[in-house]
């Protein structure tokens, strides 16, 4: 797996490169990693799920306020970011495919493209946050309830959900970019072969999961009652 193989490992030349001694073979090791990653992703589903549940409860209680508040979000920027993130999922999937067929250069290229798209997403997100800051829509003492008339206090609840949910999502993106930097360095070192690229594939699972969360956040936050 890593370069720091133990002396004991080196004394066992029968083991394939990157195989930990407690696994039968690479296939079993890979399956264990995949299941472990999915178990982690389930905890992530439940983590974000709690926020989605809270959102559902409050949107049900204050539908008019949520509609008004949602109309202050920028649909064009939100749509662009959705496209950017889907694009980054494509390049991530393609990077893994290149590793599977053992092509080194396009693999690095796709990984770098994935990072650039991820950074673009965060850049656009920060522009949106800045707009909300300027418009006094950050939850807290500076929140301008008068923007929404009588619905002001309830609109503030929407913005609390907006910032916590997109903020935690953005945090996951930052973590993802860190993982990508690490994985790109390993890819550049030639760590990933068609027979063994588990770390790359697990990072891909995480990246796609973050995309999944956004697929639900986008319509629920940006697109409430837009026809009104």
């Amino acid at each position: 797996m890593s370069a720091s193989s133990t002396p004991a490992r080196r004394a066992q030349p029968l083991h394939a490169a990157g195989l930990a001694h407690h696994f039968e073979d690479l296939a079993q090791q890979h399956e264990a990693a995949r299941l472990g990653m999915w178990a982690f992703l389930i905890t992530e589903v439940m983590f974000f799920g709690g926020l989605f549940t809270g959102y559902a409860v409050y949107r049900n209680l204050y539908p008019a306020a949520f509609r008004l508040a949602s109309h202050h979000l920028d649909v064009a920027l939100g749509t662009t970011n959705t496209a950017v993130l889907i694009g980054s999922s494509l390049t991530m999937a393609l990077a893994i495919r290149e590793a599977q067929i053992g092509r080194w250069k396009p693999q690095i290229g796709y990984l770098i493209a994935t990072m650039l798209l991820g950074a673009t997403f965060l850049g656009i997100k920060s522009i949106e946050y800045h707009h909300k800051w300027v418009d006094h829509l950050m939850p807290g003492p500076g929140f301008d309830v008068s923007v929404f008339g009588a619905e002001g206090p309830h609109a503030r609840i929407f913005y609390s959900f907006y910032f916590v949910m997109t903020g935690l999502h953005a945090f996951h993106m930052v973590v993802g970019l860190g993982l990508m930097a690490w994985i790109t360095r390993r890819a550049a070192r030639g760590d990933f072969t068609p027979g063994h690229h588990t770390a790359l594939e697990m990072t891909g699972l995480y990246w796609h999961f973050v995309d999944l969360v956004w697929i639900f956040l986008f319509p629920l936050l940006y697109l409430i009652g837009r026809h009104g």
């Binding site: 890979h30 399956e31 589903v45 799920g49 559902a56 209680l61 995309d211 319509p219």
Partner: protein, 94 residues
């Protein structure tokens, strides 16, 4: 190993479908469908999510146990949101 190499065409088709789904969500959001607006938006999102899970996350080509894991996450999420909403909706709060 993950011996299955997904054809390029599949990845680009899924990418196209996800982009089309995004455009459709935005388009539908500006039409007045009454209470169906949210239902349609969530249905499109669920289909997009399914495509990502099956193809980009390779679940379609993974072991049955991976299917069980992925489905378990979805099941518990549905239970959490479903039972919570059933509770709130029957209290006459809104």
């Amino acid at each position: 190993m993950s011996a299955h190499v997904v054809p390029l065409k599949t990845y680009f088709t899924i990418f196209g479908a996800l982009m089309a789904g995004t455009a459709l969500t935005v388009f539908v959001a500006f039409q007045d469908l009454g209470p169906m607006n949210t239902v349609v938006a969530l249905t499109i999102a669920a289909i997009k999510a399914l495509l990502v899970v099956l193809f980009f996350m390779h679940v379609k080509y993974s072991s049955r146990l991976t299917w069980v894991f992925a489905a378990a996450g979805f099941l518990w999420l549905v239970l959490m949101i479903g039972l919570t909403m059933a509770d709130f909706d029957t209290r006459g709060m809104s």
